[in-house]
């Protein structure tokens, strides 16, 4: 399952970050690493991007990017 399929309000643990290069590094630099707990807080009014709670702060990523994050 990837992060973009997770319901709002659910907390999941990251198992793997797919992809490579700049985007992957950027996602991981922001603290979305293997074993990190992520909660989907909300979806933007137009359906994209998502707002996540990770490591105690709010992060916004697009669904395209969320689809590269595998969760358990």
């Amino acid at each position: 399952m990837t992060l973009d399929q997770v319901q709002i309000g659910e907390e999941r643990t990251i198992t793997k970050i797919l992809g490579e290069g700049a985007v992957k590094r950027r996602i991981m630099d922001m603290g979305l690493t293997k074993g990190t707990k992520v909660t989907i807080i909300k979806v933007a009014p137009l359906g994209d991007p998502l707002e996540l709670l990770v490591r105690g702060y709010d992060l916004s990523i697009r669904k395209d990017e969320a689809a590269k994050i595998e969760v358990e």
Partner: protein, 882 residues
């Protein structure tokens, strides 16, 4: 020897606030990621030999983004003496991630944990001793906004800078990674500086090409250690770069567990920030709130009766212009103009004065007096205009007839003396009375009914102002309203300059050069300051409080489709009022590509000045087409959407889409000081940097309009002798396919670059010799002389001037915002192409449809349109793998 301290930290961690607190300089601070793109330096207050370098806010030292590269290159290759690492205490886990990277560089470091006031308030505890020990450096708590501990942080940094490196980098990775790193370190020992050996080893492990290249290490050495890296990757089932990143975070998690005690009671409760966020990014409420905030900005900056417009009008007409102004918050009641009261004796002056002015205006406020005088002014204008016309008509066949342009002075004076304000004639002065009547009989009867359309009121052209002889005499006797008789009056700078030049006794040419040319240029620059000020005060508030990041969050989906950012919406709304603050407002977009695209496209929305042009053309040519004005807005929006799509597919903007991974900072109430500093920096930048381009450009355009080749000053009406006329003739061919290829059309288009509304003024001047009795008729005749399809030509002229590069001022800020000259020219060329294409298509295709005219130009127009459609609808470029 001077000491260099680098200030490094995450975006939005309060770095610039600390920088300002320590250097006292007014740097740019904002509450959204990516404010500082360039690095800036300042001297540490109280330590003249210490330079503090403010680096861009970064999350990591990865080689992928521009800001990160700037910071990394500075730290690694310019080797500051110490790093002051600022860490947001409310978001310590992610902030320390950068700290672990900084600690490896082999530069002495101090960690300043910022926002301790908020941390304390929340009841959390941070053990700085443990934190410092874990990262092998000093750590202290500060609050930059409350100026708490800032000096201590600077003193610590200074101390470690003097002491030099004492401890080695912390070991943050797991056994197998550390093992591989040890092998790498061993093989590169002696080949890289000893202090940064760990950093080099990690970069080699990560296979960071850029860093390895700069180290200048033999590729064989790299190959030699590759086996160790591969082993590690196999063991941990991930690529090397990800292993490093993951393990850093694991290490930090351990530190945070040890050093930070979270207030257990707080965990469940929602913070105020969360509550605000729940409303402003609410599924249904988000868009209305966003629109509401846009309306607020619209009203503040550019609405007809909003503060921005009032300030702008005041600055242009009263402060900088010729009107002058009364000191606010003081009495504007009429006061006897004592020294001018010639009719009163010395005892009567002041309160008892009985001169005309005092008799009429005593007790009135300035505005009341103006209101009182307004109809009299209209009477005088109406009657005199009719008199002049009648005089010319009656005498035109007489020998030696000279056309009367204005009321003869002697007649004017004589008239003024014949009546008193209440209509009592002063006929006892037989001589004067006779003289007046004699003169008037020469021309026409003294009692003519005058019919003049009131010009100000566009909606009611049928309204007429009539004035007969008796009324005229009365009005003439009413003293004019002199603003200096009403409280403290400060004349406009133009007026002051005028009188100064008169006193200096310079000739007309020099006077006009200084007053209209040079001062005109300066006034153009300064005239935009109020609207920029208001827009940026508002934007600064939105940015500082953290709403701006949410705007991107809310609008991203919509704008991404045509290559823009969610924040692009704001410049476009501002652009409806004025393009200059719009282009500057694009600054809030941190992604360089989105930023450039927004700057190029934002000015296509017809601004306030362009609305004047639209209104004039609509009233002259398109009275039966009420939708023309709306059509211009629609074309503007269409250009932005389609232009965005086309540009996104062009080579200039091609490449991998930037990932939208954005922090949503916590809301906080901005300080007035911060907002002001923020706004002021931008206004200052506009005046000094953009002004440098605008000023000479305005002066140049004014010169070519008002001088001929022998450098003789020309009156406005003599534009046909001006240099601009010749320039217009040279480039008229360029406009021929658009239907207005005469020097008049060219000159009006060129002069419109001073300010768009100048197009209407210049058209009025260049058309004055056309037949007709009014300016509107002149302009109609002018377009009639240019083309067989005057309405099409007029439409083409209008759209051309609306959609080519905006006025000088906006072009100047565009150049500034685009960063490089090449990009500036690209923007201008793109805008010129769009404007020309639309005008060409409108005219040529219009002719084809109306009467089947088919020429070479029709083919060209259709070809260019085809090209545009191809640019819009062609498949997107394959993303170039880097």
């Amino acid at each position: 020897m001077s000491i260099k301290i680098a200030l490094a930290g995450n975006p939005n961690s309060g770095k610039t606030t600390l920088f300002n607190a320590l250097t006292g300089s007014d740097q740019y601070v904002g509450n959204w990621p990516g404010v500082t793109v360039e690095k800036k330096d300042g001297r540490l207050a109280g330590h003249k030999d210490t330079v503090l370098q403010d680096l861009p806010g970064i999350y990591s030292l990865s080689p992928y983004s521009l800001e990160e590269k700037v910071s990394r290159n500075f730290l690694v290759y310019e080797k500051p003496d110490a790093i002051l690492n600022i860490v947001d205490g409310t978001n310590i886990e992610r902030n320390l991630y950068l700290s672990t990277q900084l600690a490896e560089l082999g530069i002495p470091m101090v960690i300043a944990v910022n926002m301790m006031d908020i941390v304390d308030k929340a009841g959390d505890k941070i053990d700085f001793k443990k934190l410092g020990k874990a990262l092998n450096c000093r750590a202290i708590g500060i609050s930059a906004q409350k100026s708490r501990g800032c000096r201590d942080a600077a003193a610590e940094a200074l101390l470690v800078a003097r002491e030099g490196l004492k401890s080695e980098a912390p070991h943050v990775f797991s056994g197998s990674v550390e093992h591989a790193l040890a092998h790498i370190e061993e093989s590169i020992q002696g080949k890289v500086p000893a202090a940064s050996i760990r950093w080099c080893a990690i970069k080699i492990f990560e296979r960071d090409k850029e860093a390895i290249e700069k180290m200048g290490i033999n590729p064989k050495t790299i190959e030699h250690v590759e086996g160790h890296i591969k082993d590690c990757e196999k063991e941990l089932d991930d690529d090397a770069e990800s292993i490093i990143t993951s393990q850093r975070y694991e290490f930090i998690q351990k530190i945070v567990k040890d050093c930070v005690v979270k207030n257990s009671k707080r965990l469940k409760r929602m913070s105020i920030s969360d509550k605000i966020d729940r409303i402003v990014t609410h599924k249904i409420l988000a868009l209305p709130i966003f629109i509401l905030s846009l309306c607020a900005m619209w009203w503040l900056a550019v609405a007809e009766n909003g503060p921005g417009t009032i300030l702008t009008d005041w600055a242009n007409d009263q402060f900088l212009g010729e009107d002058g102004w009364h000191l606010p918050f003081t009495s504007h009641k009429f006061k006897c103009p004592e020294k001018e009261c010639e009719n009163c004796t010395a005892d009567e002056r002041g309160e008892n004065c009985t001169c005309e002015s005092c008799r009429i205006y005593t007790g009135m406020e300035y505005e009341e007096a103006q209101e009182f005088y307004a109809p009299h002014e209209k009477n005088i204008e109406a009657w005199e205009a009719a008199y002049i016309e009648a005089y010319n008509e009656a005498n035109k066949d007489k020998e030696g007839f000279e056309e009367l342009a204005e009321m003869p002075e002697e007649l004017d004076e004589a008239l003024a003396r014949t009546v008193k304000a209440d209509g009592v004639r002063l006929d006892d002065d037989e001589e004067t009375g006779e003289a007046v009547r004699g003169k008037l009989k020469d021309g026409c009867g003294p009692c003519i009914e005058v019919e003049i359309a009131e010009e100000d009121d566009e909606d009611a052209p049928e309204l007429e102002w009539t004035c007969d002889w008796a009324m005229y005499q009365v009005s003439k006797a009413v003293p004019e309203v002199d603003p200096s008789n009403y409280g403290v009056f400060i004349p406009g700078i133009s007026t002051l300059l005028d009188s100064m030049l008169d006193k200096a006794g310079v000739n007309e040419t020099v006077k006009s050069l200084v007053k209209d040319g040079a001062w005109g240029g300066v006034a153009t620059v300064l005239g935009f300051v109020p609207v920029i000020l208001v827009v940026f005060l508002f934007l600064a508030f939105l940015e500082d409080c953290g709403y701006m990041a949410r705007v991107a969050f809310i609008m991203d989906r919509l704008f991404r489709k045509f290559g823009l950012s969610g924040k692009s919406f704001i410049p476009m709304i501002v652009g409806k009022g004025c393009g200059v603050p719009a282009v500057m407002a694009a600054r809030t977009i941190e992604n360089e590509r989105d930023h450039r695209m927004t700057v190029i496209l934002a000015t296509f929305i017809p601004c306030g000045a362009k609305t004047v042009v639209i209104a004039m053309f609509a009233s002259i040519f398109f009275r039966d087409m009420w939708w023309v004005a709306a059509l211009m807005d629609i074309i503007g929006i269409a250009i932005i959407v389609l232009g965005g799509i086309a540009l996104k597919k062009s080579r200039a903007f091609a490449g991998e889409a930037a990932p939208f991974v954005m922090e949503l900072p916590s809301y906080h109430l901005p300080t007035p000081n911060g907002i002001w500093r923020h706004t002021w920096t931008r206004v200052k930048g506009y005046v000094f940097k953009a002004g440098m381009i605008i000023f000479p450009a305005c002066v140049f355009l004014w010169l070519v309009m008002h001088f001929d080749w022998s450098f003789t000053l020309l009156a406005d009406e003599e534009i046909e002798k001006s240099i601009l006329h010749d320039i217009g003739s040279w480039i008229a061919w360029f406009f021929a396919p658009l239907g207005f290829g005469t020097w008049q059309g060219a000159a009006a288009s060129v002069s419109a670059e001073i300010a768009k509304e100048q197009a209407t003024a210049t058209l009025g001047i260049v058309a004055q010799n056309m037949q007709g009795t009014s300016t509107a008729a002149h302009i109609k005749a002018l377009f009639g002389s240019m083309s067989d399809f005057p309405r099409l030509a007029a439409f083409s002229f209008m759209v051309f001037n609306l959609f080519i590069p905006p006025c000088m001022v906006a072009i100047a800020v565009t150049f500034r915002e685009m960063g490089t000259k090449a990009w500036g020219w690209f923007a201008v060329a793109f805008q010129l192409f769009i404007g020309y294409t639309i005008a060409l298509s409108a005219y040529q295709v219009g002719m084809l449809i109306c009467s089947g005219v088919f020429t070479f130009w029709t083919i060209l127009a259709l070809a260019i349109d085809g090209f545009c459609l191809w640019a819009i609808f062609r498949p997107a470029r394959k993303e170039i793998a880097k």
